[in-house]
Assembly symmetry: D2
Homo-oligomer: 414 residues x 4
C-alpha cells in the first residue's frame, strides 16, 4: 500500500566513459535500440550525464573548454519505449522534478573558442572561458563571477522522441542544402551526419555504422520533435507535449541545466550538470491530429522563481549591428545588440566582458521579441533580474568599480 | 497645500484633423518647435490621438483599414522641452498612468493590406481586417473575436527624445543604404524622408519644408533614442531612461495601446486608441556616460496582469520556414513559425485565421527568444495566457468547433 | 455601433453636504428608497464620497480627525435596484475599475482618538493623527510619512445588498446581546441603531424615522451580506458574489480606499478618498442555494501589485500580550503583537510610532493567520513589502536613524 | 577545489524508535546536550523524522491516528551548537532546500480525535480521520481526496534556538497561569511540563529528569524563539532570523511538512513527512538589539508556487459563531467561520466534510486577516487556489456531485 521509492529507468556512471554506457546515445536515429520500456502513465527517474560527458572539470582553467571534443558530446539517456505510443500520438511528459547528482553539487558554464564551437558573440569574444557554479540547495553561486547568486530553474536542455526515417531524411536534406548554400561563409552553419565517435547504446556495429552515416546531430532543436530546444522554462512541474514519429516513441532526454538565460548565448551557456530527472509519461492517442501539432507544446510549472516585474532592468536592442549597418527586421541581430547593451552596463561594476557573457548565458534573464514589424528595425529586449546581485544595480544607484576577480581562462589562475 | 488636479501639458481634439493641431507632429527632427516647457521633476498629463489620427472607425467593415493613408499617421504629442536637459543627459520618464479617453472607450486592431502597410504574416494573410475592442474598465473584449477578454497592459507605443542633427543624419544614411541594397525586393524595407503630409506643429513653412526633406519617419524604433519600440511592458508604473540628444530633450509621446502582444505582429497590431498619459520627468545629468547608455533602458511597473506561469500554453517555432527551407539561426523566421503554430492550434475552436492573427497581435502574449546558438536552428516561443479565453483551451480539454463569427473585413458585414 | 462613454448611475457633489444628496444613505435598512434601477448585465459608473463625507481636510493638523463626528459617516451611494434580482439570488458584481476623483488626487489615513472611534492599538496609541497622501497616477506618497511610495490597490471598503427585515432583526438582536453582555467594558463593543444624523436618500420622514430606529450601522461587515468588509483585494478586475435578501437587491457601495493593509488597523486606516467605481452587475438566479452561500465570495483581479515573495519581510506575533499574559489561541491578540513587532523594527529608521501605525494601516501589507491550533499560542504574520521604501529596510542593511518628519498631529505643524 | 556533497550534521533512522536516537529530543530546555557543532557560515544537511516519530502508517485506516500517543511526538533533530553564537545574537538560517526522504515518498494529514489532540473544528468534527499523500516530484496527490493535486511548499514546522533558563521560566509561569485560569474549560488550553516519555538525546538520567520536569513542550510556537510556528512559507530559499538565548544557540529543527494551509487547522494538518533539510547558518553578532527583535523575522524564498491572484476563490468569515452568537473582534471565531464556508462550498462536489477539513489543513490556502477594527465584527478570508482541482470549481461552473470516495476513517476501508 502506498508507494516505495520511484523506479529508475536508467542510471549512469560518472566514473565511466559515456561512450561505454548502454543507456546513452548521441545521435537522433530511429534505429538506436530502445534501452528499456516504460508503461503508459508511469513515473520514473532517469539519470543523465552532463552534455560534454564529463570533459569539463571543477577547476580554474579554461583549457578543458578550449580542448573540448565536440564529437563526444550530447550523450542522451534513452531511448525509451513508451508502451502504446504509435506514430501520430502525442507523448505528454510531465517533469515532476529535476535535481543535480547528490554527490556532484556543481556545474559549469563555458564560452567555447570561436574555432571550436563558438557562440553568439564569438566575433567579439573569441576566446575560451569558464565559470564553475556551486549548488547550495535551490541556489547557485560561482567563485568566477562573484556578487551574484540565484535560484536555479532546473531543466533538461534536450528531450524528444526519435525521428522516423522520413523525418530524418527531411532533416538531412534541408540541412545539407543550407550547408551547401552557405559554403562561402567562414563558419559552420550546420553539422552533417558524422560517423566519428557515434554512440548508439548497445547497437551492433552494422546498425551503429548506419546511425553514424545517417543519424542527425543533436546540436539543433528541430520543429518536428523538439530535441535541443534549450527552453529555460521546461522546469519542475512543467508539461511537454511531444509528437511521436515511431512505434514506442523512443524518448530520450539529456543535457540537464541548473539554470539558463533566454538564448543560452555562449552555446555551452547554461549551467551544465549531471543529474536525475523524474518524469511521468502519458500517451495521447491521435494527439498530433487532435492538437493540430507540428512542433512541441509546453506548459510551465508553477514554481518558477518570481522576482516581481518591477525587479527587472530591461535593455533594448535593434537590428543595427555593431558596425552601424542597418539590417531588415532581423531579430537575431537585434538580440546580439541587446546582449551587448547589458555587457556595457554591467562592465561599470568591475566585471570583465567574459564574466558578463557567461552570466547572460546562464542567469534567468528574460529575452523578449518586442517589435518585429516596424521596418526596418526589429527590437528585442532582455530583462535582467536585479535581485540576483548582492549589490544594487538599479540605474539610480551610483556604479562603483569593484574587484570582481575573473572567470576561468586558458592557462588557469583565478 | 496638497495637490489640485494634475496639469495638462497638451490636450488634443478628436474632432479636428491631427494635421491642424499645434501640439502634434509626425516626424523626428531637431527643428520641430517645442510645444511647451515642462519642469524637471514635474508631473503632467498629456493627451494623444490614436496613431492613425482618427482614420479608423468603430464599425464592422475593414474598408477604412484597406484605405488608410500611411503618410498621415503616427501623430505624436510634443515635442516638450524639459528644463535643464542637455545632450548627454538621460531623461527618466515615469509612466504614472495611461488611460483611454473617457468618452471614447474603444480601440481597434488592424491587419493592413499587403500592398498598403502589410504585416509580419502578410505573405500568408494579405487581406485587410479589423477588430474593434470595447473597454470595460481594465478589461477589453471584441464583438469581432468572441470568447476572449483580458486586462489591458496600457502603454505608449512611441516615446523618445528628438535626434540631434548628427543622429538624424546617421539614421538617414544607414536606412538609405539598406533601401539601396534591397532594391531587388518587392517590398518596402525602410521608409525614407517624405515631404508629403509632414506635420511639424506650428513650424513656419520654411522649417516645415526642411523637416519634410530630412525628418525621420516615425515607423521604426531606433537604437539611439527609442521611438516606436512597441514594448508592451512600458505600462503603468514603469520607468523609462531615454538618451537626450538636443538641448531641452524635445520629448514626444504617442501611439497609445490598450494592449499588445510581443511582436505586435499585424503592424497595426496593438489595440490602438486615443488617450491620456500621466508622466513624471526627471533629468539625470550626464546620464548617458554614467549609465554607459547607447539605447534606452526601462523597468516595468508592478501592476502587470499576472496569470501564474502554469496558466500559459507555450508554442515553439524554429528557423525552418513554411516552405521547409532551413535558415541559419534566424529568429525572425522562427518567430513567424511560432505564430503559425498558434494559429493552427486556435483554428480548432472555430476561429478563422484572421481573427487569430489579430488576437496574437494585441493579446498579452509572451514572445521569447529560447535558443539562438544551436546551429542551424533558432528557437522562439510564444506563451499564450489561457485565462483570456472563456472556454478551456488547454490541450487536455477536447476542442470543439464553435461559431465564433468573424472579424471586420472589406465590404463589412459581421 | 460601439460604445459611448459608460453611463453614470449616480453622481455625487463634493461641495454639498452628504446629508443633502439623494443618492446617499448611511444605514442598512430594506426601506431606504431605491435611487435608480440598473439592468441585469449592465455596466455603470457610480461616484462615491469619502467615508467621512468630507470632514477631513488636506492640511497638516489632526484637529479634524480629533473632532470627527462619527454619526455623520459612511455615506454609501445607492441603493440601486438591479432588475430581476430576487431574494435567494446572488448578485455578481465585477469591479471593472476604481479611480479617485479627477480633481481631487489625494486621500487621508487617520488614527482616531481613543475616546472618539479608536483603533486596534488605541490602548498604546490613544492620540489622533493623520497622513495626507498625494496620488501620482497609480502611485501614492505622503509628506507626512517620507521615504515610502507604493501603487494603490484601489477598492471599495463597503459594498453589499440591503438586508431583509428578518436579517436586520437578527443583526439588531445579536449585537444588542453583545452590548448587554459587555456592559462592564469601558469601550463600545458594537453600535446600536442611532436616529441621530440618519440619512436615507429621499425617504419621507416617517420612513426615515423608522430607519433611524431600526437601521443597522454601517461600521461592521456582517456575514449575511458583506458590507464593510474592508478587504484590500476587492480591487480592479475582481468579482464579488453577494447574497440578495430583498427584491431588486438594493445594492450600495462606498468608502473607497486608494490602498489598505490587511486589518486596516487604525480604523480610519485605509487611504480614504472620494472617487468613481465602474461596476458590472449580473444576477445569478437561485445563486445562494446553488453556491451554498452564507457569506460573500470573491475572486481577485489579475493586476494586483506584485513584489515577488522574496521582497517581503515577515514579522511574527503570538497570543502573548504586551503585558506578558498568555491568551488561548487568540488570533486578535497575536495580530496586535505582530503589528507591534513591525513598529519596533521600523522605529529604528527614525519614524515615530504614529507614522508607522498609519503606514501599517494603509500600505499593502499581508496579514496572515499562520497557526491556530498549537495550544496555547495563535501565530499570525505580517508581510511588509520592502520595495515600498526608498531605502533598504532588509535586515542585512544597517539601520540608520534619519529625520523622517512626523505625521499630522493635533495642533498641526508638520 | 569545488564542493563535494554537503555534510550531514545529523542522520536519523526510520527503522529505529525516535526515543533511541541521540540526535533527537522532544522538549525545549537549555540543558539538552548539543548533538554536534556547526561552523558559522557552514551549510549542512539535517535529517528529520516525521513529527509523530513514525506512529502513522501508509494505510487506509485512521486507527493509528485515533491511538496516537501524544507524549511521543515532535522529535526534533539537534540541538546544534553554532560556533560563535552567544545570547543577544541573531542566528540567520537560510533554508536552501527541503526534501522528503528518497525512499519514503509519501506523507499524511490527520484529524485527531477531539479527546486525543483535537483540532480547530473539533466541536463539529470530533472523529479521527486521515489522508495519505503520494509525492510525485514537486507535486502530491492522495487516494483519499481524489480530484486534487498541487505542488508542495515544503517547509519545517518547527525551528528555533533553545530558551535560556530565564526564558523557560517565563514560559512555564505564564502557561501555568493560563491553565489555572481556564480550569473550568473542558479542554486542554496548554500543556505543562511532562516527564513521561521525555527524550533528551544522550543526556544522562539526572539531566533528563530535570528536562522532564522543566522542559517546555514543543506544541506551541512562542514569541521569544519561534519554535512550532507552522508558517507555510518558510520554504525553499527562505531566510529566518532567530533570537539566540544560550551560548552556541542550540538550534533544533523538525516536523517537516510537504505542504500546509494557513492555520494548519486540523492540528496534524500539514502533510507530515520525514525528510532532509539543507541549512546555512550565519551568526549576526548583537543582532537582537540591532534589529530590535523580540520574535523571529523571515523572508520567503523566490520559488513559491504561484497561481496568479485571479485563480483564487476567496471566502469570507466573521466573528459570529455557528450558533449565531456575536463575538467582539474575535479573529479566531472569524477564521473558524471562514473554514466552514469553504466546507459548505466544496461539499457540493461530493466531498465529505472530513475530506475538506483535511484538505483545508494541508493545501496551500491563503488565510488573511481582512478587517479587525469594525466593531463588533472581525473579518478573515481564505483564498482557495482553484488550480489544485482537476475540475472547475469556479462559481460560474455548475457544481455536480461526484463519487469522491472518502478519507481514511477508524476501522479503515476506503
Amino acid at each position: 500500500m502506498g508507494k516505495e521509492g520511484i523506479r529508475y529507468a536508467a542510471k549512469v556512471s560518472l566514473d565511466k566513459p559515456a561512450a561505454e554506457q548502454d543507456c546513452l546515445h548521441n545521435r537522433w536515429h530511429p534505429d538506436v535500440p530502445s534501452y528499456t520500456t516504460i508503461k503508459n502513465n508511469e513515473v520514473v527517474k532517469i539519470e543523465c550525464v552532463d552534455w560534454t560527458g564529463g570533459q569539463i572539470g571543477n577547476n580554474d582553467s579554461a583549457d578543458d573548454v578550449r580542448d573540448v571534443d565536440l564529437t563526444r558530446i550530447h550523450y542522451l539517456t534513452g531511448p525509451f519505449d513508451i508502451e502504446t505510443a504509435e506514430p501520430g500520438d502525442v507523448l505528454l511528459v510531465e517533469i515532476q522534478d529535476v535535481q543535480p547528482m547528490q554527490d556532484q553539487p556543481w556545474g559549469f558554464t563555458g564560452i567555447f573558442a570561436k574555432e571550436n564551437g563558438g557562440g553568439f558573440l564569438d566575433e567579439i569574444y573569441p576566446k575560451p572561458a569558464k565559470a564553475i557554479w556551486d549548488f547550495e540547495g535551490i541556489f547557485c553561486s560561482s567563485r568566477h563571477i562573484p556578487g551574484v547568486r540565484f535560484a536555479g530553474l532546473i531543466h533538461p536542455g534536450i528531450l524528444g522522441c526519435a525521428p522516423s526515417a522520413e523525418v530524418l531524411d527531411t532533416w538531412n536534406k534541408r540541412e545539407a542544402e543550407l550547408i551547401s548554400a552557405c559554403s562561402h561563409m567562414d563558419r559552420d552553419v550546420a553539422l552533417p551526419p558524422e560517423p566519428k565517435n557515434v554512440h548508439a547504446g548497445n547497437a551492433p556495429s552494422s546498425i551503429k555504422d548506419k546511425i553514424g552515416k545517417e543519424g542527425a546531430r543533436t546540436v539543433p532543436g528541430r520543429p518536428e520533435h523538439g530535441g535541443n530546444c534549450d527552453i529555460k522554462n521546461l522546469s519542475r512541474g512543467s508539461k511537454v507535449y511531444l509528437p511521436v514519429h515511431v512505434s514506442g516513441a523512443k524518448f530520450s532526454v539529456g543535457d540537464l541545466h541548473f539554470s539558463q538565460g533566454d538564448g543560452e548565448i555562449s552555446f555551452c551557456g547554461a549551467i551544465e550538470m549531471a543529474g536525475v530527472i523524474t518524469l511521468k509519461f502519458t500517451v495521447l492517442k491521435n494527439g498530433m491530429s487532435d492538437l493540430a501539432m507540428k512542433s512541441p507544446l509546453y506548459i510551465p510549472g508553477p514554481v518558477e522563481p518570481q522576482f516581481g516585474p518591477g525587479r527587472y532592468l530591461y535593455f533594448e536592442g535593434f537590428s543595427v549591428d555593431e558596425a552601424g549597418k542597418q539590417h531588415y527586421l532581423d531579430a537575431t541581430v537585434a538580440y546580439r545588440q541587446t546582449c551587448l547593451r547589458v555587457i556595457e552596463y554591467l562592465r561599470r561594476y568591475g566585471y570583465d566582458d567574459y564574466q558578463i557573457y557567461l552570466l547572460l548565458s546562464c542567469a534567468p534573464i528574460q529575452g523578449h521579441i518586442a517589435g518585429l514589424v516596424d521596418i526596418p528595425n526589429a527590437c528585442t529586449t532582455i530583462g535582467l533580474p536585479m535581485d540576483i546581485f548582492d549589490f544594487d544595480i538599479s540605474p539610480h544607484a551610483k556604479a562603483e568599480k569593484k574587484d570582481l576577480g575573473s572567470c576561468a581562462k586558458v592557462g588557469g589562475g583565478k
